[in-house]
Symmetry: C2
Subunit: 418 residues, 2 copies
């Protein structure tokens, strides 16, 4: 309105032609201003930055804040954050097949579906009292949660989180077990382990409202499980006895048998500060690299030779995660307290530790970029995430984060058991 | 301007207050109109559907129309098309690491960068006279093209298609060779084969403006090459002699040696209607499934046993592509004329053909969804794409397409040699 007091303003307003010229100009200017404002929140309320690919996205759990950061691995930046996710200690994340949506499993039983592009929660359910993770089934239409309490597996519609099936984990002993080691398999199936009853279940969810369960005796107290990247072998670690329980999922009908005697809690010669995560086991050149329980060693086992032990590699402490770079040439290892400030890199060709680094305090998790040119690791006690070039082993980026734990990239959507 | 002739228009215009009130109203109306128009093409000109994940996107080459379709594999639908891509016979596609952008290599030497979300061309260069494909380097910042004429490799900035390096393929014979079998490797490297001079080149593009080339003698007339999914083994098929040329990329310095004697053009007992595509070789349970040249067979070779032949499986015709489902349990095979109406499915556990189908005329290419629950195949002569459920082996969708050839999904961005 400042124009009204400018010299000639009133006179000009009295000339209709001038008024309409001004009107036209101002309308255009206003339209630009209003349009720009709309643009900022345009396209169904989403910011312009919502139009982007999802192949290089990921999330970082900020465990103490009930929040996840959304990050991208091309420029190695933080894009935003979503909070209100409840208890995220030991939280894990799986991704929808479109790469846009993530499912966060909180320790408090909360299951939250995130829209990574809009940076918001789309659905959230409190589905159990204590949950330990989940999986997306092969066709992407079903999300499964594995629960400690009440022990069981629940299947949800991946788009709406509508409950499709509730499978209580009642084992041979007639009691309800905690469920661990849930993994999606080829053929719309899941595998999971029942801690108290010592069983491995293979669940066919082709009809997710009426899943069919095969129950296999597996050994004492399976505490975690994994499936190999090809979806053929399911392995459960046993807390109550030596060795591992192995299921060949190509066998009909499948059966569990013991492998790698000498591995496991039963004969651990050292106090175990933290049970290793089986999900962190690595496959490299067809061989499995396993964190030995309670020992300062990695074990190398060969699936093609009945999973026999091929070698042991001495490392700096009790390994927690042993993760293979996607090409299998390196395995990166982090450790339990008191060596949780240390990361080691093993060359799988020579089976030698080629680098020992102490990046920060409280290294909780590691994640490779899809083609493995970089590794991200979380430094819980130093409130940051660090990124390493895996060729030079040099740090190339640092991102602030509040007590970060798990780091998960969308490429997991395209792999079994991830 | 219609308002200028309405009753009272001139009088009202002479009252400055009224003018400013009208101006305000009209500005708002105009802004709404302009804003709405902007919205329709909002977010920097992108439709609302541009906000979506890219993990389930793909492109289908419509070879005769110089056009690609953009498809999505969740709902199995066509999202749009982009034309103006020139000669797309034998065209191939690679993807940016964000999953949003695709690079199309046309036979006419055209290299086009597509935005799959905006459904438009962002950059296009005519970079050679005859080109056969390309690769995106590990870190996603560089795109490489392999050219027949003039024979060589060119490196481009992945964002702008600015030329970074031109590497003429001048071999030991001092002449310019056609380049085939380009594949990206771990460590910002590429491998490629030179047809006339019989060499395999390993190119370190850590500095893409000054790439370093290692030249290995490879055998007579390598006609195509591939790298195994782990990035360790590079294999070139030889047109001029028996066997394959193998490079162990973990060896220092790398060297090429002959494997699989008896394989190759030299002793082919049958006329070869179409050379098989090495890119179609399949790895399943650590073993390589190869289309035998000129024979109605697949060969199974074991990298862990010096690539020795382990078995042969009889199939319906001369195989062109032998592609493993991501879990390795099935290999799907298509064939050269006159059996190019046929597809066979082999169970890799029993090494038996479990299904022979004749889906349509001119089956040119096949592509699995990232987790392998479905397979898409192109029916060139029936102008459609068909989608199969790989568990039931039933057709679950059909999409119209004009003479479709290659089908490429964005998950390729996260794999070596794809």
């Amino acid at each position: 309105m400042a124009d009204r007091s400018t010299p000639g303003g009133q006179a000009a307003a009295r000339d209709p032609r001038t008024v309409w010229q001004r009107l036209g100009r101002l309308t255009r200017r206003a339209a630009v201003a209003v349009g720009a404002a709309w643009l900022a929140a345009a396209c169904t309320g989403l910011p312009e930055a919502s139009v982007r690919g999802t192949g290089d996205l990921g999330v970082v759990i900020e465990r103490a804040s009930g929040r996840v950061q959304i990050v991208e691995t091309t420029g190695m930046t933080r894009l935003g954050a979503i909070d209100g996710l409840g208890d995220l200690s030991h939280a894990s994340v799986v991704f929808a097949r479109d790469g846009r949506h993530a499912y966060v499993f909180g320790r408090d039983g909360g299951l939250t579906r995130l829209d990574l592009l809009a940076q918001r929660i789309t659905h959230r359910v409190k589905q159990a009292g204590n949950s330990i993770g989940g999986a997306v089934l092969q066709d992407g239409k079903v999300v499964a949660a594995q629960n400690y309490a009440p022990g069981g597996i629940k299947l949800f519609d991946a788009g709406t989180l509508e409950l499709l099936a509730d499978i209580p984990a009642i084992g041979r002993d007639g009691r309800r077990s905690k469920v661990v080691g849930l993994a999606d398999l080829p053929g719309q199936r899941l595998a999971a382990s029942l801690f108290e009853s010592g069983e491995i279940w293979i669940i066919d969810a082709t009809n997710p409202r009426q899943p069919a369960v095969s129950r296999l005796p597996a050994g004492r107290e399976p505490y975690d499980g994994l499936v190999t990247p090809d979806g053929r072998w399911y392995l459960a670690g046993l807390f109550g006895e030596d060795g591992l329980s192995l299921v060949d999922l190509w066998q009909t009908p499948p059966a569990a048998r013991r492998v790698l005697a000498g591995y496991g809690r039963g004969q651990a010669p050292l106090p175990v500060y933290k049970m290793p995560h089986l999900r962190g086991w690595a496959m490299a050149q067809g061989q499995a690299w396993l964190p030995a329980i309670g020992r300062h060693e990695l074990l190398v086992a060969d699936p093609a030779r009945d999973w026999q032990e091929q070698a042991r590699v001495a490392v700096a402490g009790q390994p927690v995660f042993a993760m293979a770079r996607p090409d299998g040439r390196q395995v990166w290892v982090n450790f339990a307290f008191p060596r949780n400030d240390t990361v080691q890199v093993v060359d799988t060709a020579t089976r030698q530790v080629v680098r020992t680094m102490t990046p920060c305090r409280g290294v909780l998790h590691m994640e490779f970029t899809p083609k493995g040119e970089a590794l991200w690791l979380s430094c819980r006690d130093d409130n940051r995430v660090e990124v390493y070039d895996t060729a030079t082993l040099r740090r190339i980026a640092t991102l602030p984060a509040e007590q970060p734990s798990g780091i998960f990239f969308t490429a997991r959507a395209q792999r079994f058991g991830m």
